[in-house]
């Protein structure tokens, strides 16, 4: 089956790693710490380590599966494994998930900017603005998105580290004690939430065919997950060491509050603009990647030759979906309770696992085959 590639661009492994970091980290840093600390208190950092391992497993699963079907994306090999109709169904589910997930990210993005920065601006303005910019990026293709990301992400990661270092004065390591205060169940419960963020790496399955060296995919995914895990670990340690577990759990965006605490010599302070810049960039990159995933997979599902005509309609659906969220309480509640089983259970681990098992059972795409 020779088909014109939907995406002509190619990205190298380094770009892919950075892209995957942008895919996971931005919202993880913002909302995951509070939800995790709520479950595991000062042992939340252990939860992050567990979650990183789950993330690594998912990364291995997804890249492993993709390597059985070189040059094919998740949607294409789902059809090949399950047959045409069930494959299409799975594809439709994934398209829905990319859209819905992205709508939630948009909601987080807008809620944060609204509550932390611009309370007078209606959320719809943030939705529309970031979607329009993201649409431009998606329209330009994967290569443009990756290059943009490659340019800014190192800056963002660096700034974040610097800000965390500056907060060192207000940290107290004793706030992390006693270790293992919560039982294993609580730590695992806490791990499920960040794990569902790490699991978003499943989107990589759409991008692997566009890597210039697809065989490096497992290494790329593992590196990205490790970097994300490390950042989230640092982030959660910083937050707990500044606020203690009880207060950390009660903030909505604890990382933002932690950065606000920085005050050195009554002079170097009010660094939250950095946090907001980080978030503006990170949120945009993440929305862009999810957007791209939705558009690309829709085009594949419909069997189009070009995905560009879909950019605008998908954007409209995206904004409409995001606008369905009534308030931040609803959003946080959904993220803390429904998101893990929905995302992690179904899309990030469930379906890929099913695909692997069926592929193996039917003997398709096996390495030896």
């Amino acid at each position: 089956m020779v088909k014109a590639m939907l995406e002509q661009g190619k990205i190298d492994s380094k770009q892919a790693i950075l892209l995957l970091i942008s895919l996971v980290l931005p919202t993880a840093i913002l909302t995951a710490p509070a939800i995790t600390v709520k479950q595991a208190a000062q042992d939340a950092w252990l939860s992050i380590i567990v979650a990183t391992m789950i993330g690594l497993l998912i990364a291995g699963l997804v890249t492993g599966l993709s390597l059985f079907f070189p040059g094919k994306t998740l949607l294409e090999y789902a059809e090949e494994i399950l047959g045409r109709l069930p494959g299409k169904m799975v594809g439709l589910l994934y398209i829905w998930w990319f859209l819905h997930g992205n709508a939630l990210i948009l909601d987080e993005y807008a809620s944060f900017l609204c509550s932390a920065l611009m309370p007078d601006t209606p959320v719809i303005v943030f939705f529309v603005f970031v979607t329009v910019v993201a649409a431009l990026a998606v329209h330009s293709g994967l290569e443009v998105l990756s290059r943009f990301n490659q340019l800014f992400l190192p800056l963002v990661l660096g700034l974040l580290l610097v800000v965390f270092l500056l907060a060192a004065k207000d940290m107290e390591a004793t706030r992390l004690l006693p270790v293992f205060d919560k039982d294993a169940a609580a730590i695992l419960k806490g791990a499920v939430i960040p794990a569902s963020w790490f699991g978003e790496i499943v989107i990589f399955a759409l991008l692997i065919p566009f890597l210039d060296r697809a065989e490096e995919a497992p290494r790329v995914a593992v590196t990205a997950i490790l970097i994300c895990g490390l950042y989230l670990l640092i982030c959660i340690l910083v937050v707990i060491m500044i606020f203690g577990p009880h207060v950390s759990a009660r903030w909505i965006f604890p990382t933002f509050n932690a950065i606000r605490v920085v005050s050195i010599a009554n002079f170097l302070e009010r660094l939250e603009s950095i946090a907001i810049a980080v978030w503006m960039f990170g949120g945009f990159a993440k929305i862009g990647i999810f957007y791209y995933a939705a558009v690309l997979s829709s085009a594949q599902w419909l069997g189009l030759k070009d995905y560009r005509p879909l950019v605008a309609p998908v954007g409209v659906v995206l904004v409409a979906l995001a606008a369905l969220c009534r308030n931040i309480v609803e959003l946080l509640n959904f993220l803390a309770t429904a998101w893990p089983p929905y995302a992690l259970g179904l899309f990030e681990a469930g379906i890929p696992l099913l695909l692997l098992v069926v592929a193996r059972a039917r003997g398709r795409g096996g390495r030896g085959a």
Binding site: M118, P178, D181, I242, F243, G244, V247, R250, V261, R270
Partner: protein, 398 residues
Amino acid sequence: MKKRIAALLLITFVIILAGGCWSRVELTELAIVLGAGVDLSEDGRILLTLQIARPGAYTAGGEAGGRGREPASWVVSAEGRTVPEAERFLAMKIPRQIYWGHCIILVLGEELARREGTGMVTNFFQREREPRENIYVLVARGRARDFLETYSSLEKTSAQAAGFLERMKTGYSVQLRELAEMLVSRGIQPAVTAVEVTEAGTMPGQVPGGTPPPQKEVGVAGTAVFKQDKLIGWLDPWETRGFLWLKGETMKGVIIVPGPEQPEKLVSIRIRRGKTKIVPEYNGEYPRFLVKIRVEGDMVEQQTRENLATPEKIKLLEEEMASEIKARAEAALEKVQGEYGVDIFGFGEAFHRKYKKEWRELKYRWDEEFSRAEVEIAVDARIREIGLLTRRAGIPEE
């Protein structure tokens, strides 16, 4: 062509909207809050007092002319059932937009702290995005409003003066985020700096009609002790030192000890640094705490005539110093443990760190357990420097 027009429209749209005109506020349209005070009004409502900066008075040369010193702040208050309601009533009196971002202190009136507690007030300051997590929380002996209405002679405003006092850790400086942590944790009860308005020095110079009146100044008056979120008592400045040494929070202060040979004359030792370690022990019935305080200080003055610059004398002074520190720490402990029965030292936290299983049970009645806990204080005091003199100068040669 069509594309170009569309692009042009888009660019114009972005330039107009992204240029920052939305919710634009000029600096001159802001009323910058430096300090906020909350009291209980006569009919039990909230009386919110704001000290607002008057930027005009901050410009250089404002003090020219000796007498006509323009106050750098403006103090207004309004009542309401909640803090935001009072704030909205204030907005009717303040011709600018109230801006909380530079608020340095939050002062709670004694009455409010005692009867209603902090919970009625602090939530607004955490939930709102403008006030910061590192606002210092103080309790005024008396009314918060009186505190904010006081001028400072050295700093521009009393809020700034209090902010500097807090930053220098003259008392038990507690930021809003730390207060929240103490409120929510079962292993430590809240305590914050107590402040008061005192008559301090005078401004030199002539005023029409004789000597200038004594000036009201703000000052630290010890520590306010809370049980959960309600004020239950005070520690005076002397006890506060003992409390701080026990906590190991701030190792500062001067220790006065009697001279080894002339006990009626005194020797002053200034604490330079130190460390406190709390070692909890639990035998299954009641908790015990061993508090190890290590202090290092310099001798800064002697009233005695003897030569203190000998190793033996220094050793004697060190012993005296240790027992003095121990006595003051014990005094603070006794008052807190015996009279108030609340764990403001964080012994519970220390206990939690070591006995996490037992803590799960004890934490619900921790104040009780703390009250009957045995605390042993061991002080190791060292004197390092003795200033620039050896023997006392100014005494005739023998």
